[in-house]
Each structure stands twice: as structure tokens, then as C-alpha cells.
């Protein structure tokens, strides 16, 4: 077992883990943060998306020990995030979820897309979502929710060309 010390949703956390354990399993099974879902366990569906030092990552293909000294945020850590709460409201209003299993990962990706693109057009949102699988909605509600949330969060972005808004969070 290896001692893993990292910042989890803003709090310093230490947990003994096996070197082979993936971040998602440590979050879910050891730390009981079950909002991070596992849809494929090979980095293809995006349901397990969290952020590591602010950058979205698939927690199913990240070894937990690689997060030592880093800052990890899960869906549970976003409850007081003003931007995420706006995005959540738009997901609700645009019927952007059905079974809800992809939703936490989808929200983590959505917040990042909006942070990087300001007010992305439909094609940009769809391209940026290429690594997030939703089996229920056909994505129309998700795309609409991200676009309408972006318009609310970045009203100024509409007038600017997209590349000046982009910056990796």
C-alpha cells in the first residue's frame, strides 16, 4: 500500500492505496464519492470525468498514486460552484439527462467547454463532446443546455472571435 496525499474537493486527503488502483475506484470505493461513474473503464465514455489540477481527466485510466500532491475535483465538489449551478439549471431546463448515469461526467466536461470557448457554436460543442457518451438523450438537450448556459455565463463572448476566449483552464 502507498500513502496518497492530495487535495480532494478542496480538502487535504490522505488515503492508503494499492499502486495499481485507479483513481475512480479510490474515489468511489475508498472515499465513498460515488457521483463519479464508471461506464467503460477504458477511457472511452467519459462518465468518470473529474478534474485534476483543473483539467478534465478520465479517472478510470488514471492511477490514483499519480494524483499525489495534485488537486482533484469530483462532481461532489461542484455543489457550490456558481458556474456549475448555472449549467445544472440549463441541463434541467433543456431535458439534457434521462437515466442520469452520464450526467456527472457530462457536467464536468460541459463546464470545461464553456470555460475554454465562451459561447461555442453547435458544431464546436458537438466536437468537444466527442469523448462523452450519452446513451439516452441523443445529445440534443445536452448541446442546447451547454449553449444556453454559455450564453448566460459569458454574454460578452458572443461578440468576440472564439480563439481569444479560449484558454486551457
Amino acid at each position: 500500500m502507498t500513502a496518497l496525499t492530495f487535495t480532494l474537493n478542496g480538502e487535504e486527503t490522505t488515503e492508503a492505496v494499492e499502486p495499481r488502483e485507479i483513481l475512480a475506484d479510490v474515489l468511489r470505493d475508498r472515499l465513498r464519492l460515488t457521483g463519479t461513474h464508471l461506464g467503460c473503464e477504458h477511457g472511452a465514455c467519459g462518465a468518470c470525468t473529474v478534474t485534476i489540477d483543473g483539467v478534465p481527466a478520465r479517472s478510470c485510466i488514471v492511477l490514483a498514486v499519480m494524483c499525489d500532491g495534485k488537486s482533484v475535483e469530483t462532481i461532489e465538489g461542484t455543489r457550490d460552484d456558481a458556474a456549475m449551478n448555472v449549467i445544472r439549471r440549463h441541463f434541467h431546463e433543456q431535458h439534457a439527462l434521462q437515466c442520469g448515469f452520464c450526467t456527472p461526467g457530462m457536467l464536468m466536461a460541459a463546464r470545461d467547454i464553456i470555460a475554454r470557448h465562451g459561447q461555442p457554436d453547435e458544431a464546436t460543442v458537438r466536437r468537444e463532446l466527442s469523448g462523452q457518451v450519452c446513451r439516452c438523450t441523443g445529445y440534443m438537450g445536452i448541446v442546447a443546455a451547454i449553449r444556453s448556459a454559455a450564453a448566460e455565463l459569458h454574454p460578452e463572448a458572443a461578440a468576440r472571435p472564439m480563439h481569444t476566449v479560449s484558454s486551457l483552464a
Binding site: E18, R20, E21, D25, R28, D29, R32, L33, T34, G35, T36, H37, L38, G39, C40, E41, H42, A44, C45, A47, T74, I75, E76, T78, R79, R88, F91, H92, E93, H95, L97, Q98, C99, G100, F101, C102, T103, P104, L107, E122, V125, R126, R127, L129, S130, G131, Q132, V133, C134, R135, C136, T137, G138, Y139, M140, G141, I142, V143
Partner: protein, 784 residues
């Protein structure tokens, strides 16, 4: 949320979903999120051979107590199902393989450890001694003389051969001016809900029962099946289906993993669970589709269809899953082959074939995507052969609204609607005339533009008569609901269906709200727990809004009736003078709130009329009087651009005109349509579960099983026609599957239309770039 369709306002309201909140903050509870102290994880040892004799299992030394196989459970009953027909052959399906294995992925042993990783470490050390036998892979070849036989005692590899025949096909064949024969194939798929299957079981000593958390579409049905397999009385088992992350049919059959986990929990006394990983899902969960059609259409020269003769092969995989087995697939395919068209004769030979593949189960649309693909591709072929516009050929053959109710030659009673109108609407939505002009001009980038149509029907709300016709050993001809008003006037609805994305926590609350005039915010819908709700069959076959909605309406109406009686008593007026509005019973000169009435009924019985029993609680069941079903329908039009060089198909436009009767919540209806079409597009262009000659599955990750993602999918355009059904509550029809039925047909027709001048035609799904470019190369006489 306001609504304007109705005086009470709730039927037809675009009410935002009550179930969203927990999912949006990551606080939902799926089966894999449930923990109990001392939980052990299970990893299965699965067959790596498609077909073979299992002569022994060696457990790793020192770990024998951690490994379980068939020998540890001699009393487990086999879990095969099928129709109640003497001609249906059965092969016993044991949760743990006994003498033989019949597909790659079949369970041989289970290993338990505190973590899945440790359990897999043990599984790696288990040796299964298997002597390989020839695999049975090709559905049609499997029935040819000399084919290897999969199951001992089967005369050939069919579970059943059956004929669906009506009218005089020989007479039609003898006189029809046109006869056209074509073969089509819809390839095999997995169902792929994003949450895989999962089960957790432990013995609850206080309640003296086995508690089973299960990702399922029907908790009550699974208790029935599990108890049959385990030999446990049903009062000793509680099945809880918590949040379920999609099902689409794939979580509606009794599966060996569930039985194994329960058996291990009973044997060891320990809580155990198994959470399906994606590889297990793809190779060993419910498979679907894989139909082969050889059909001949007989027609007049003006395109009028006279009859259809054909042969259908259904690849059922290795076993017949409980309860109903794969036979429904064949009978539904045959009976739906005439689609929404008029014809005089139908003769279809069906073969439900056993192969060395994971067993077939239902998947959104069940059989109809295949049947729709075959008939609609054939209609396009007929139109081209006769030099007619495919949309025109459809129009002259469609059942017209004035013919409703119309019994198709396949025996389906199409109840209501205007099918030609749906077709003409999508024809206008995509502007067929403009597309034909654009095709003449050609594309600057060398791609070809094509347009394809498909018209479908979706049987929903079918009751006992229809299921008995299918010889089902379970007859899901009703649903039940308990409406309970609590002392403060808020309500619980306890229902036997399973909400797993369909928004039923919202729509059922809307129905109750309509009847009782309580805001849906004050009505909670509970389901997915055999300890909590009356018996019900679950959510499948587009049945929940008709059946469960009907039961909720009835139960709530009975409750409202009692509330009015109490209100009349409290106001000292006649029952007939009362009516419900805004959460109160109103009389000519006053009102009593439902909260006050509920308080009297529950905790202050002295205010009740003399002799009236206390409580405000009613349980009702519901089955529509006409149990042949109510048919939603629609027309889809796809516009595609195909690159003949690369074979890549892009969807430029997709228009839908559909009619599901009265909509309880139009937002949720649209969500179901869009999601269904996305899955239909997956069938059309991406999803396939191929096998090699030795029966090895070739798509075992999302790297090789292609799901449609946001960039590939179009923004759909939807037009609603609304023809309320006669004979259901509010005129609703089920509509959960319809979206998935037509896309393979519409898109394949569009691709063939695009490539028409190359001569390339595609006969099977999915229309991958490889298949399309090969077809073009072959048509042009070039090497593929």
C-alpha cells in the same frame, strides 16, 4: 410550471423532471453505489471457447473456498425460458456451465475477494479444462445440412421453425405482374446502457430475507425468476432496483450472473456483488438484432404491393432467456413485415436459430427495426425497379386514415391515425423536390446526396390477448398502482414499473395531479422495490404510460372520489354538489382542503361519514379493453451525404412526423424520440457485434464497438400529429421505442439513393465506411 392544454393543466404540460436534481449533483444511487459492511466482490471465470466440452475446473491451491462453480450448486434450477409451445426446443441454461459451454463469455466459475482486483487475480488462476467443438456462427448456414449441432438432442440448430401466413400467397404470386426478391441483414448488437448490469445480495437477518439490489427494468419479475432458480420462497426475497442507468431491454431478462450472486450470498452468508464491466457487457450480456431476411414482393406495375413472401432467420444465440425466450423476435418480425402497408397475402417462414453467441434478448424496438429495414428497403428497391419515386410508392400503399381501425395482413390492428399525412409532412420538411434538383446538379466536393424515407408503426399498450397470442409464459397484461394520501394532503404513488430514464416520476405525478388537483411537487412516485409497491411487470414494450399511467389514473380517481365524499360530509352537502379544484373539495358555498380531508381520513376518523372506513389509499390495476395494442406511428426522412471514395456517410437533415396520441409531457416525448433515433442511427451506421469463424467476439471495447456520439448525430426536426387513442386513459399511446425503429431503413434508403448512379446498393447494417466503399468499388468494377 404552467400548462394550457387542459382545465386542470397537468396533461400536456412541459413539466420539468422531478428526477433530475439528484443526478445533477452526483447524488443518485445506482447499484454500484450501494455498500454494505463486509461486501465481497465477484469476478467471473468465463469461457474463452465458443463451443466445447467442459471436463473439469481446477481451483487454485489454498483458494478453493473463494471459487465457486456448478459443482457447488447442484440444486440451482436452470434459467432458460421460451414460449409455451411444444415445437419450441429448450436447452437448459445453468448459471454455471455444467458439461458444455456454448458461447465465449459463458460463466464457468465465480471468485470472491474483498476487491474486484483481488477477485480477478484469483480468477486468473482458475483453469477450466475445455475441449473445443466446432462453433456455430452464421445464422443461415447453421441450418444447412452438415452444420455442427450446438445443443445435444436438437435435430437442427433451430429453437423453433414457425410459419406466419395469411391470404393466398400462391394465387398472388401466380398473377402478380411484378415480383422482386431481395435479401437483407441487420447485424448483431449489444444493448449498451451506459450503466452496465450489476447485482448485490445479502441475507438480512432481521427481516429473514435475501435482499437483492439489481439493475433491472422490473424488480417484481426478477424476484419471481430468481426465486424459481434458487428454490427460495418469494416472501424470503426483496429485490430493490435503485437508480438504473438505462436498460433499453438489456435489463429485462433473468441472467446467470444475478442467479450466481444470490446463490453465493446464500451459500457463504456474506454480502457479495458483481458489477458488470464493459467487456463483459459486450460479450456476455443480452445481444440483439441479427435478422436475416429473404423476401419477395409481389406488386402491380404502378407500385401497388399485392403480397409478401419470405424467410426470416433470427440469430438467437446460445440459449433462450427467461421468461419469453427469443421466439417473440421471429413472430414480431414476420407480423411486422407488411409494416403500415396494405397487401392481400403474407407468407413468412421463420427460423429462430441457436448459435455460439451470447443469448438474444429484447432491445428498443424489438424485431421491428429489422422488419422495418427489410420492408422499407424493399419498397425503395421496388420503386427503383419500376422507375417510380419511392415516396410515391409508399403513399399509394399506406393504410389511409378512413380505413382505421385496419387489420394488417400481419394481424396487427392499426387503431387510429393518418399515416399518409405523416409521410407527406416529412416529405415537405426535407423538401423532396428541391433535393431531387440538388442531386441533378451534383455536389462540389464529390459527395453524393441522398434522401430516404421509412414509415413505422409501434405497437404499445398491448394486453393479455396479445401476449397470449405470443404464447408468453408471463402475461404482462396489466399494471398496478397504489395512490396514498398522507395526513398532510401530500401523496405517494407506489407503482410496479421501473423508471430508468423515461421521466415516469414526473409523468405519473402529472397524471395523479390531473385527477386530484394536487401539485406534482407534492406527489412522490415510488417504484423499484418489491417490499414497497404492488406487483407489476416493469418497464418495457412501450407499456408504462398506458398501463401504469392508467393504473395511477384509476387509483387516484378512486381516491378523489372518496375525498369528495368526505368533503361533502364535512360541508354537509351532497356528493353530486362537490368538485375538486386547486387541492380542495369545493361545494356551492365553500371548500375543504384535501389536507383537511386527509387528516380526517388518517388521524381524525370522527370527522368521517358514519360507516366509512378510514385511510385515503386506493390500489387499482389497469388494462385497456382493447388488448391488441395501440399503435403509435411515424414517418422519418433522412438526408445524407455519402463520400463514394471513403464510404463515410454524414447525416445532413433528419425529419420526423410522429403520432403517439395524447402527450402527457411533450418535453419527455421529444426526449424519447431523439434518444430512440440516436440509437437507431447507431444501428444504421455504427454498432455491430461481429464474430469470427471460431465464434470469437470481435467487438470487446468501445474502441471497436462504435456508439454514436455528439459529432455524428444531427439536430432532429420533429413534427407531432396528435390522434388521441380510443380506449386508453387520456388517449395516450406508448412511444418509447418508435424512434429506434425507422432510422436504419431511412438511412440505408438515403445512402442507396445517394449512390444510385454508381449502382452500389447496401443490404445490411451498419452501413460502415468499409461496407459502403466496398459496395461502390464492386459496383464500379474496381477492387474493394
Amino acid at each position: 410550471m404552467s400548462a394550457d392544454a387542459d382545465p386542470n393543466g397537468w396533461i400536456g404540460a412541459r413539466l420539468l423532471r422531478k428526477e433530475d436534481a439528484r443526478h445533477l449533483i452526483g447524488a443518485s444511487t445506482f447499484t454500484a453505489d450501494v455498500r454494505v459492511p463486509g461486501l465481497m466482490e465477484v469476478a467471473f471465470v468465463r469461457s474463452q471457447f465458443a463451443h466445447g466440452t467442459l471436463s473439469g475446473i481446477e481451483k487454485p491451491e489454498g483458494l478453493e473456498a473463494r471459487v465457486f462453480s456448478a459443482a457447488d450448486f447442484p440444486d440451482l434450477k436452470s434459467i432458460d425460458g421460451g414460449p409455451e409451445l411444444p415445437s419450441f426446443r429448450t436447452a437448459p441454461y445453468h448459471a454455471f456451465a455444467r458439461e458444455k459451454v456454448h458461447f465465449v463469455g459463458q460463466i464457468i466459475a465465480a471468485c470472491i475477494a474483498p476487491t474486484r482486483g483481488k477477485a480477478e487475480d484469483i480468477a486468473d488462476q482458475v483453469f477450466a479444462d475445455i475441449d473445443a467443438l466446432p462453433a456455430v456462427v452464421d445464422t443461415v448456414e447453421a441450418l444447412k445440412p452438415g452444420a455442427a449441432i450446438l445443443h445435444d438432442g436438437f435435430a437442427d440448430n433451430a429453437f423453433i421453425h414457425a410459419t406466419v401466413s395469411e391470404g393466398d400467397i400462391e394465387a398472388v404470386a401466380a398473377t402478380a405482374p411484378v415480383s422482386m426478391r431481395r435479401t437483407f441483414r441487420m447485424n448483431r448488437q449489444a444493448t449498451v446502457p451506459l450503466e452496465g448490469r450489476g447485482v448485490l445480495a445479502y441475507w438480512d437477518h432481521r427481516l429473514d430475507e435475501l435482499v437483492v439490489y439489481l439493475s433491472t427494468q422490473g424488480a417484481h419479475m426478477m424476484r419471481l425468476g430468481l426465486c424459481l432458480a434458487l428454490g427460495l420462497p418469494e416472501h424470503k426475497m426483496r429485490v430493490i432496483a435503485p437508480d438504473v442507468g438505462g436498460g433499453f431491454g438489456g435489463k429485462n431478462r433473468l441472467m446467470p450472473e444475478e442467479v450466481a450472486i444470490c446463490a453465493i450470498a446464500l451459500k457463504t452468508g456474506k454480502p457479495v456483488r458483481w458489477i458488470e464491466d464493459r467487456r463483459e457487457h459486450l460479450i456476455a450480456s443480452v445481444h440483439c438484432r441479427e435478422h436475416h431476411y429473404d423476401i419477395t414482393l409481389y406488386a402491380e406495375r404502378d407500385g401497388r404491393i399485392l403480397g409478401l413472401k419470405g424467410e426470416v432467420h433470427i440469430d438467437a444465440g446460445a440459449y433462450s432467456l427467461w421468461p419469453s425466450g427469443p421466439f417473440m423476435e421471429a413472430s414480431m418480425a414476420a407480423r411486422n413485415l407488411p409494416g403500415p402497408y396494405q397487401m392481400q397475402a403474407l407468407h413468412v417462414e421463420t427460423h429462430t436459430v441457436a448459435t455460439s453467441k451470447s443469448p438474444m434478448g429484447p432491445y428498443r424496438g424489438v424485431a421491428r427495426p429489422g422488419a422495418c429495414f427489410a420492408i422499407e428497403r424493399a419498397v425503395d428497391e421496388l420503386a427503383h425497379e419500376l422507375g417510380l419515386e419511392p415516396a410515391d410508392v409508399r403513399r399509394i400503399n399506406l393504410v389511409a386514415s378512413e380505413q382505421m381501425p385496419y387489420r394488417t395482413i400481419g394481424g396487427m390492428r392499426l387503431d387510429s391515425g393518418d399515416y399518409p399525412k405523416a409521410l407527406s409532412i416529412v416529405r415537405e420538411m426535407v423538401d423532396l423536390a428541391a433535393l431531387r434538383r440538388r442531386q441533378m446538379e451534383g455536389e462540389a466536393d464529390g459527395r453524393r446526396i441522398g434522401v430516404g424515407f421509412a414509415v413505422y408503426t409501434e405497437q404499445s399498450g398491448h394486453g393479455a390477448a396479445e401476449w397470449m397470442k405470443r404464447k408468453s409464459r408471463i402475461v404482462p397484461g396489466y399494471e398496478s398502482a397504489t395512490a396514498r394520501m398522507l395526513p398532510d394532503g401530500t401523496m405517494l404513488l407506489l407503482v410496479g414499473i421501473q423508471n430508468h430514464g423515461q421521466g415516469l416520476e414526473t409523468t405519473l405525478a402529472q397524471i395523479a395531479a390531473q385527477e386530484i388537483t394536487v401539485d406534482p411537487a407534492n406527489i412522490s412516485v415510488r417504484y423499484g422495490d418489491t417490499a414497497l409497491t404492488p406487483f407489476g411487470f416493469g418497464t418495457f414494450a412501450s407499456r408504462s404510460i398506458v398501463f401504469s399511467g392508467g393504473a395511477v389514473a384509476r387509483a387516484t380517481r378512486a381516491l378523489a372520489d372518496k375525498a369528495r365524499r368526505i368533503g361533502a360530509h364535512l360541508m354537509q352537502i351532497e356528493f353530486e354538489q362537490t368538485h375538486l379544484a386547486d387541492g380542495a373539495v369545493h361545494g356551492p358555498a365553500g371548500k375543504v382542503s384535501l389536507a383537511e380531508i386527509a387528516r380526517a381520513a388518517n388521524v381524525r376518523q370522527e370527522f368521517l361519514p358514519a360507516g366509512m372506513p378510514p385511510l385515503l389509499e386506493e390500489t387499482a390495476t389497469y388494462e385497456p379493453e382493447e388488448s391488441g395494442g395501440f399503435f403509435s406511428y411515424g414517418a422519418h426522412a433522412a438526408v445524407v451525404a455519402v463520400d463514394p471514395e471513403t464510404g463515410v456517410t454524414s447525416i445532413l437533415d433528419y425529419a420526423i412526423a410522429e403520432d403517439c396520441g395524447t402527450m402527457i409531457n411533450p418535453m419527455i416525448v421529444d426526449g424519447q424520440i431523439i434518444g430512440g433515433v440516436a440509437q437507431g442511427i447507431g444501428t444504421a451506421l455504427y454498432e455491430e457485434m461481429p464474430y469470427d469463424e471460431s465464434g470469437q467476439p470481435l467487438a470487446t471495447t468501445f474502441g471497436d464497438y462504435m456508439l454514436p456520439c455528439a459529432p455524428e448525430l444531427p439536430a432532429l426536426r420533429i413534427h407531432h400529429l396528435i390522434t388521441p387513442a380510443h380506449g386508453t386513459e387520456y388517449g395516450v399511446k406508448g412511444m418509447g421505442e418508435g424512434g429506434a425503429i425507422a432510422p436504419p431503413a431511412a438511412i440505408a434508403n438515403a445512402v442507396c439513393d445517394a449512390l444510385r448512379d454508381t449502382g452500389a446498393r447496401i443490404w445490411e447494417t451498419p452501413l460502415t465506411p468499409r461496407r459502403v466503399s466496398d459496395a461502390v468499388a464492386e459496383a464500379m468494377g474496381e477492387p474493394a
